[in-house]
């Protein structure tokens, strides 16, 4: 069945799709968003029940291969030391994200000019700054003004609490003379725009029952729908269709009953994330585009960046209550963020300090490490390790490399028979050196803060949170997929707004930048409506 033509069709209702939908709504155009998943219900999240610690690893696992919801598609990550994690439903991966919200630095947009590596972005920090600000205001971001790691910026809400662990780790940083700052977080520390404040439930990454985490389903979507955007859930897009002139004409999708449908559109915006977007483009083959849509550069799916992550934890004297507070946001150090010619690697990394473990995780991890035994010593050991740990993560800038890529798996499909993505990824020499540096500094930090025991878990597998670079932006159609405002070089009415357009990954969580980019692209589209396809 062919439905009535819409003006703009957005595919994917995650962080970027939601922001773009909201921004475009004031044009009065007919804007439709298709999302393969459904609305998540706050009342279903694990933290509503006493067995939350077990449920979070099952139905709300961040791995689609474990979770296996109807809306999930499998991802073949056998040839990658990092597994992709995501969420497929209204709000996209922000339903599960930790909401740690650092911006990029001005230097991140100029890595080639400054350091001679990768490519510069076709835009800069100061062009994006008003959109960072707008996004912070729209969704509610908390943080402490005055961070010397950034040009001046003001956030709408005061910081979320660091807790006692913040004092301990802060003292450690001070001993070393290193930068640190309470984390910027897309979590509201005070009531904001009809939502109540964070009450420190803890497990942000299995969904926020309070609705204080600023995920796209509770922020942009209510606003966009009020402004007239039509959101259709349970619609899985198989391919984007084109006409003989090479313009996008709409999509073929499967509805909730698995029936094939067609939707025509004047403009198509892809917002399926750094894995879902190249998958869709590569699945959209036609006579004019035999290698996949918008792929004349051959770069669709290439240059996947995921931020290799080292995980270390230190244990301290009892009384820290480190298990309390929003799990993924506490303190960020950008001491080693900017490039430094005296180091043996290019670019830099962030040190993200996060909270300790709840009781079940404390016991199981402690047993696996050999610290919490069976038998008589069990109770004393548990007391020693519960509420006393501080996690230190190294988030390494991942430089673009062609061989790190998303392709189509020759055999694996989703439940609608659409080819699944396959990830091929290797850690570069540069990343390995950077992680080694970060590990040594993490240990120094924990020692300076007075840790009585330090465990280094190395680079961790289930850290494919940040999916970037697989349809990058640039001015040259030979070396990029979209132009400096997100429009495909090859298909003039096709736009991409998600993390796949990142040119480089920087060294921090990307979602504030993903959403700022989506707002910037939508705004540029609005300014160019009269000659959008020229």
């Amino acid at each position: 069945m062919v439905n009535k033509t819409v003006d703009v069709l957005i595919i994917g209702a995650g962080a970027s799709g939601a922001a773009a939908a909201w921004s475009l709504a004031d044009t009065g155009m007919h804007i439709m968003c298709m999302e393969q998943g459904d609305w998540a219900q706050q009342s279903d999240y694990p933290s509503n029940t006493k067995d939350w610690e077990v449920r979070r690893h099952k139905e709300m696992s961040a791995s689609p291969n474990v979770r296996q919801m109807k809306s999930d598609y499998p991802i073949n990550d056998q040839d990658s030391p990092i597994s992709v994690v995501n969420y497929n439903g209204v709000g996209g991966s922000t339903v599960l994200y930790a909401a740690h919200f650092p911006r990029l630095h001005p230097s991140d947009f100029k890595v080639n000019s400054l350091d001679g590596v990768a490519e510069d972005w076709p835009i800069d920090y100061f062009q994006l700054e008003p959109y960072y600000q707008l996004n912070d205001k729209n969704i509610g971001v908390s943080g402490l003004d005055g961070d010397p790691a950034y040009p001046d910026k003001q956030l709408p809400l005061p910081p979320i609490p660091m807790g006692k662990m913040g004092n301990v780790i802060g003292a450690g940083f001070n001993k070393l003379g290193w930068h640190w700052w309470p984390s910027d977080a897309a979590i509201i520390s005070q009531p904001y725009e009809g939502r109540d404040r964070c009450i420190n439930l803890g497990p942000c990454i299995s969904g926020c029952s309070q609705g204080a985490k600023s995920s796209a389903d509770v922020t942009y979507w209510p606003m966009a729908i009020r402004a007239g955007v039509e959101l259709k859930t349970g619609c899985r897009v198989r391919e984007i269709t084109v006409d003989d002139q090479g313009m996008a004409t709409g999509v073929i999708y499967y509805d909730e009953q698995g029936q094939e449908q067609e939707q025509k559109a004047e403009v198509v915006i892809v917002a399926c994330n750094g894995v879902g977007t190249p998958r869709l483009l590569l699945n959209s083959k036609s006579k004019l585009f035999p290698d996949g849509l918008a792929n004349s550069s051959g770069l669709v799916g290439k240059n996947l960046m995921m931020h290799p992550w080292n995980h270390m934890e230190g244990f301290f004297e009892p009384g820290l209550d480190s298990h309390l507070g929003p799990q993924g946001s506490c303190v960020l150090s950008q001491q080693f963020y900017e490039s430094d010619a005296t180091r043996d690697f290019d670019r830099g990394y962030g040190i993200q300090v996060t909270r300790g473990s709840a009781p079940v995780a404390t016991a199981i991890n402690g047993y696996n490490r050999g610290d919490i035994p069976w038998g008589d010593g069990h109770h004393d050991a548990f007391k020693k390790y519960f509420g006393t740990n501080i996690a230190v993560g190294v988030c390494a800038e991942d430089l673009p490399e062609l061989h790190n890529c998303v392709t189509l798996d020759p055999e694996m499909t989703d439940s609608d028979g659409i080819a699944a993505p396959k990830i091929n990824y290797r850690l570069s020499e540069n990343s390995l050196k950077m992680l080694a540096h970060g590990r040594a500094r993490s240990r120094e930090l924990l020692e300076a803060a007075g840790a009585t025991q330090i465990n280094d878990y190395g680079q961790i597998r289930y850290a494919g949170w940040h999916l970037l670079g697989t349809a990058r932006m640039g001015r040259d159609p030979a070396t990029s997929v979209v132009n400096e405002w997100g429009r495909s070089h090859d298909v003039k009415n096709l736009f991409i707004v998600d993390g796949s357009i990142f040119v480089t990954s920087a060294a921090g969580n990307p979602t504030t930048t993903i959403q700022a980019l989506a707002l910037y692209i939508a705004d540029t589209m609005k300014k160019n409506l009269a000659n959008l396809f020229d």
């Binding site: 067995d51 610690e53 400054l114 069976w374 038998g375």
Partner: protein, 158 residues
């Protein structure tokens, strides 16, 4: 159906249940001050049946093997702690995988149990809706960071 089955929804016999109880209290005994219960006391059997049904199906044969290793004269539950430990070690070769799955399940069941959480001085409840109080932290600790001034790199730097 085995005659020894004492309840229709039970997956194990009474003698297997006795072995299990002894094994559980060997894994987590009650604390000496009496505040923390033993893992025998946390309704483990029904927890496994409802949360980990695949694992529950493996319980009978594993418990039988442990009882067999314990010896024909003495039942596992009648052994001293040291003898129980010896029997567990002796059964390791065959039951290694079983123990490695059993332990996290016992710990998960134990540390979600009301008596256990109360023994730890925690409230036994879901995090929502009450939440938790967390102190802001001492922001004056940031003074030296402020004093050192900006550390971001100007992007027009060569």
């Amino acid at each position: 159906m085995n005659d020894e089955m004492i309840k229709t929804d039970r997956v194990i016999t009474q003698s297997q249940a006795d072995t299990l109880a002894a094994l559980l209290s060997h894994i987590i005994p009650a604390s000496q001050d009496g505040r923390m219960p033993a893992a025998t006391d946390i309704e483990f059997e029904s927890y496994v049946a409802s949360i980990e049904p695949n694992f529950a199906a493996e319980l009978p044969s594993a418990l039988d093997y442990l009882a067999f290793v314990a010896g024909s004269k003495m039942r596992f539950e009648a052994l001293t702690d040291a003898a129980q430990q010896a029997a567990i070690e002796q059964s390791q070769q065959k039951l290694n995988k079983f123990y490695s799955i059993l332990t996290p399940i016992v710990f998960a069941c134990y540390y979600q149990n009301e008596k256990v959480l109360e023994g730890l001085g925690l409230e036994s409840r879901a995090p929502f809706p009450k939440g938790n109080d967390v102190e802001l932290g001492d922001l004056s600790l940031l003074d030296p960071v402020r004093t050192r001034g900006p550390i971001w790199r100007q992007s027009d730097e060569g």
